[in-house]
């Protein structure tokens, strides 16, 4: 299989306190085309930081980053910002945990969904852009997409907003979609729908997905491969089913034990 993203020895350190604080240490990830990889770990395990680094969204102040994030022959950690920006939203997209605040409150949904096309594909005219946006909104399961197109974020529920976020992230048909705890803020039935949607998009568009969660059972539903992280380090990595069957590390066993069981 073709490797599209190769992260090696990623190291992120914060400097906003007296002592430097390592938040990610020796993180490695090889992502193949069309694959879904899960990253699991508790809060503060460094999973979101790794994701933000791949998406090129680490703030520039008060941190050092080392290692390499190779994509398309460029190291995203050190390359020109112009090159990084040309991938952001076009080849690498991200959706976040908080659908309530991740959309701009004063801009129409359609405008936000189309944004990546407007930035990266100037050759597409306005009418086609709108048509594509409505098709994408329909594909992510937003009912009456023509109407939603002219609505504002506050008029939608949390689940609908996350669908909007996914539509906006997918509109330029990126090669990689990073989903940073996309279901954590949503209730359980909506969670399942979003997971189904990601699986469908992965199958239909061939988009590789990095799915980040603290919930191993969600990862098991969606991913083939999983990376288990604890306090900035990768503690275990491998096939999801194998890890479920025979977890090597005690931390992984704890995460598995934390999944609520339904007694019949």
């Amino acid at each position: 299989m073709e490797v599209i993203l190769d992260v090696t020895d990623l190291h992120i350190e914060f400097h906003d306190h007296d002592k430097p604080e390592t938040v990610v240490e020796d993180f490695d990830l090889m992502l193949e085309k069309g694959e879904i990889v899960g990253i699991v770990g508790e809060s503060g395990s460094g999973k979101s930081m790794s994701a933000l680094a791949i998406a090129g969204l680490l703030k520039r102040h008060a941190l050092t980053k080392n290692g390499r994030i190779m994509f398309d022959g460029h190291d995203l950690l050190t390359c020109d910002r112009k090159i990084l920006r040309s991938y952001q939203g076009d080849e690498i997209s991200i959706i976040f945990q908080e659908p309530m605040t991740s959309l701009n409150p004063v801009k129409k949904i359609g405008w936000q969904v189309e944004e990546s096309l407007r930035i990266h594909h100037k050759e597409i005219d306005k009418a086609t852009r709108k048509k594509k946006a409505i098709e994408m909104m329909d594909a992510v399961g937003l009912r009456e997409p023509e109407k939603v197109y002219d609505m504002y974020p506050h008029e939608l529920s949390g689940g609908m907003r996350q669908r909007v976020m996914i539509a906006a992230a997918m509109i330029a048909e990126p090669r990689i979609l990073i989903a940073d705890e996309p279901t954590t803020a949503l209730d359980v039935t909506i969670q399942a729908q979003i997971v189904d949607l990601l699986r469908k998009l992965n199958r239909e568009k061939g988009t590789a997905i990095i799915f980040i969660s603290h919930d191993l059972s969600l990862i098991r539903q969606l991913c083939q491969r999983v990376i288990v992280m604890q306090s900035g380090n990768i503690v275990e990595t491998g096939n999801v089913e194998e890890i479920f069957r025979a977890p090597k590390m005690s931390y992984t066993r704890k995460l598995i034990a934390a999944i609520p069981q339904i007694d019949l």
Binding site: L57, R85, S86, Q88, S93, F96, S102, V106, I119, A168
Partner: protein, 314 residues
């Protein structure tokens, strides 16, 4: 549309209450207008005759409605002192005061918006620190004092304008506007300092929100994030402030008109307060109230355009 209708309705209601307060206040102040008109020449017969003629013997509410209905028809009564219609007296002065207030507003906007954006963008840079200190100083100088400084510096030392050399807009509009620039600056400066500070804080706060991270994730440049995403959100509190500032400028221009010798509303207002020429005072207060209410209405409409959430929150 319903939103605007509601705002207009509440504006009319407010105006009604204001007019009632103004009328009652001047009716309850001790001192009889007829006695005041004739001074020492007043005889009881003359007073009784004029009280009847002016309708002062009618009940308060009847007098109020008579005054209010004629006021909205444009008849604001007759000045006790000058014996001419108040409406005519203030009609020629209002354009002066209004022009001054609008010019102050424009100057405030022209200074504060670019400056606020600039220092927010270069947060903690040298310019940010310098401007923040300057802001603090300018904010604490009242317009009448900066007006005096400006008169002294530009009028006496640099001689770029002639203090007291006001030209009426009917004579030479260009010279009229030119004379008003420095007074307008005096009024605008402290407000511009406040608006700059507010906008800076607002831009920085909005720039830290989740949706800007989303905007960056789609490949926006820093400038695109600032102008396409952050600015509209950041302007919401600034618009409120600027609306209040404009209302304040209408009132604030009264003091500045005195400092710069501008024959606007302030001169008539002050003389008529001194002379207890109540119809004139009432009319001016009502005029200022109407201006403030209209400005508030405009702010509400602009607000509605910027922030789509407003209609739903009602």
């Amino acid at each position: 549309m319903r939103y605007i209708l509601k705002k207009v309705l509440s504006m009319v209601l407010t105006l009604f209450v204001v007019s009632l307060c103004v009328f009652l206040a001047f009716s309850l102040i001790p001192g009889d207008p007829v006695t005041r008109m004739f001074g020492t020449e007043a005889t009881p017969e003359l007073i009784a005759q004029y009280r009847e003629k002016m309708g002062l013997n009618d009940p308060l509410l009847v007098r109020y409605f008579r005054w209010f209905t004629s006021f909205i028809q444009g008849d604001m009564g007759t000045s006790y002192d000058y014996k001419i219609p108040v409406a005519g007296m203030i009609a020629e002065k209002i354009p002066i005061t209004l022009t001054l207030a609008i010019m102050s507003f424009v100057i405030m906007v022209l200074i504060s918006i670019p400056l606020g954006i600039y220092i927010a963008k270069h947060e903690n840079g040298i310019m940010d620190h310098i401007i923040s200190i300057l802001n603090q100083i300018i904010m604490s100088i009242p317009p009448f004092f900066s007006g005096i400084l400006i008169t002294f510096f530009f009028g006496v030392i640099l001689r770029v304008f002639k203090p007291g050399g006001f030209v009426s807009y009917t004579k030479d509009f260009g010279a009229f506007i030119k004379y008003l620039i420095l007074p307008a600056v005096a009024i605008a400066l402290p407000k511009a300092a406040m608006a700059t500070k507010l906008l800076r804080g607002s831009v920085i706060e909005e720039a830290g929100k989740d949706y800007t991270r989303t905007a960056y994730s789609r490949g926006n440049t820093t400038n695109a994030v600032l102008y396409l995403h952050v600015l509209k959100n950041a302007m919401i509190p600034v618009v409120t402030f600027m609306g209040m500032a404009l209302a304040d400028m209408v009132a604030g221009s009264i003091v500045i008109e005195q400092v710069f010798g501008i024959p606007g509303i302030s001169r008539i207002l002050l003389t008529s307060i001194n002379n207890r020429d109540y119809p004139v005072v009432e009319a001016i207060i009502m005029g200022i109230a109407i201006m403030v209410l209209v400005i508030n209405l405009l702010v509400d409409i602009i607000y509605r355009i910027i922030d789509p959430r407003i209609e739903v929150e009602e």
